[in-house]
Subunit: 266 residues, 2 copies
């Protein structure tokens, strides 16, 4: 990244358009003017997030980079949230779609795609933070969901398990990426950078009164052990292997065994 504006010109909007969700509000019709367009705004915003992080993304700053005022952006996006939503979908478009290959090892394909997703999210600093509860309906998110569902169904996983499992995977991937991005924003990019921080935590755990915290003291090394990659691998394996047990019919129906479904409700 040489500091110029020519960074990442590869548009991540593939294929033809998808019908817009009917509840997506657009305040005005897109203007016919030259310099401004939804794409231009998104690319500028993305450049800003990549350079300075999500906190630095203000409507004013985006407008400034485009040589205009903040009010002009509201012609293309109802509010900041909508801009962020489309920004995220733009980034999701960078994730390679999972495709079941000749090997037939669907679990490997799914895991690989989890790693791909994580890599893309982390390549855009803390943008993942905006990926929250809103069920994603952008064109690229739909495309990715479709591809992943194809793999899972192709593996013989029941529809309900595939749908919920897919949900769960995104949740874990996003949550892990958010956590990692926060570490990065605290200056702990590499394992080497994180080491002093982890050492501090470990020493604190070890220094606790051993009579009241015997396990925490004993496990201080284990608690702070392992790189972010290793922990992510652990989480993904735990989940995908669990899904695999549903696919092969080896599942023990545990939800019924220890079943207090709804036990946590108010």
């Amino acid at each position: 990244m040489p500091s110029s504006s020519a960074v990442v010109e590869t548009s991540a909007l593939h294929g033809s358009a998808v019908p817009a969700p009917p509840w997506r509000t657009r305040r005005k019709a897109p203007a016919a003017r030259q310099p401004l367009s939804a794409e231009a705004v998104i690319e500028t915003a993305l450049r800003l997030v990549d350079r300075d992080g999500l906190d630095a993304l203000s409507m004013r700053r985006v407008a400034q980079d485009l040589g205009t005022g903040p009010a002009s952006l509201y012609a293309y996006f109802a509010n900041k949230d909508e801009l962020l939503e489309q920004l995220l979908d733009r980034v999701v478009g960078e994730i390679p779609l999972p495709v079941l290959d000749a090997s037939g090892d669907w679990a490997a394909v799914v895991k690989r795609s989890c790693w791909d997703s994580r890599a893309v999210f982390l390549a855009h600093r803390d943008l993942v933070k905006v990926a929250r509860a809103n069920i994603p309906v952008g064109p690229n998110s739909l495309r990715y969901t479709e591809a992943m569902l194809a793999v899972l169904r192709g593996a013989g996983i029941p529809d309900k398990v595939a749908a919920w499992g897919m949900d769960q995977m995104s949740l874990v991937i996003v949550a892990d990426a958010v956590e990692t991005s926060i570490h990065v924003s605290h200056g702990r990019q590499s394992e080497a950078d994180a080491a002093p921080y982890l050492a501090q935590i470990r020493d604190y755990y070890a220094s606790l009164p051993v009579d009241r915290f015997p396990n925490l003291v004993a496990m201080a090394p284990a608690m702070t052990e392992g790189s972010g990659d290793e922990r992510f691998a652990f989480a993904i394996d735990l989940m995908v292997d669990g899904l695999a047990r549903h696919a092969t019919g080896r599942v023990v129906e545990s939800s019924r065994v220890s079943g207090f479904v709804g036990g946590g409700g108010k």
Copy 2:
């Protein structure tokens, strides 16, 4: 405060104090004045969050409820983040500690505790949102972590798996609670309230071009099926059962089978 000051007087700070983490910054010594104290600030802030949500929690509003100015709060908390951190720990203190009972069914104990955690978080609107990357070091969080580790280790789970699994469980619980709390803040408290929203999503999926989204169209019902409780049960079972396989030695060391650890790194 004529009638409101008697709300939730149950302090959730059990037992004696724990040594404060050395890097916790405190700007000034706590004042000797009557009306203000860290506890009073936290209780006021919690009342505010419970009533109006996390977004409504501003230093100004808290100060106003205490009959003072915003600057006064900075005598007890270095900044808003520190207030939030302690607020969260105050709430974590409401979660019952998991204890291995006579039945010896540790998995049931762990799952029950997951439900308990979720219930407590959801009882405080969207306060969970503040539970992010910072490894929790508050006294109540430590107490909970210790109890949970005791259960996991008692079940014969290896230290590394227990530590990482515990991490993963908090991540899933928090992520799920955040998602649920966002739904609630959108006015979709109960299953009945959420039904129209889910129907909208389902119809949108079903309306997609079937040639490009065959799976999404076919799975529209499955994707929107199930209550929040059922989905949470699915996630927790998936995870705890996975951990159980580590405990009994039946684990297939899958991280080595499909092992591209670090494959997603840059």
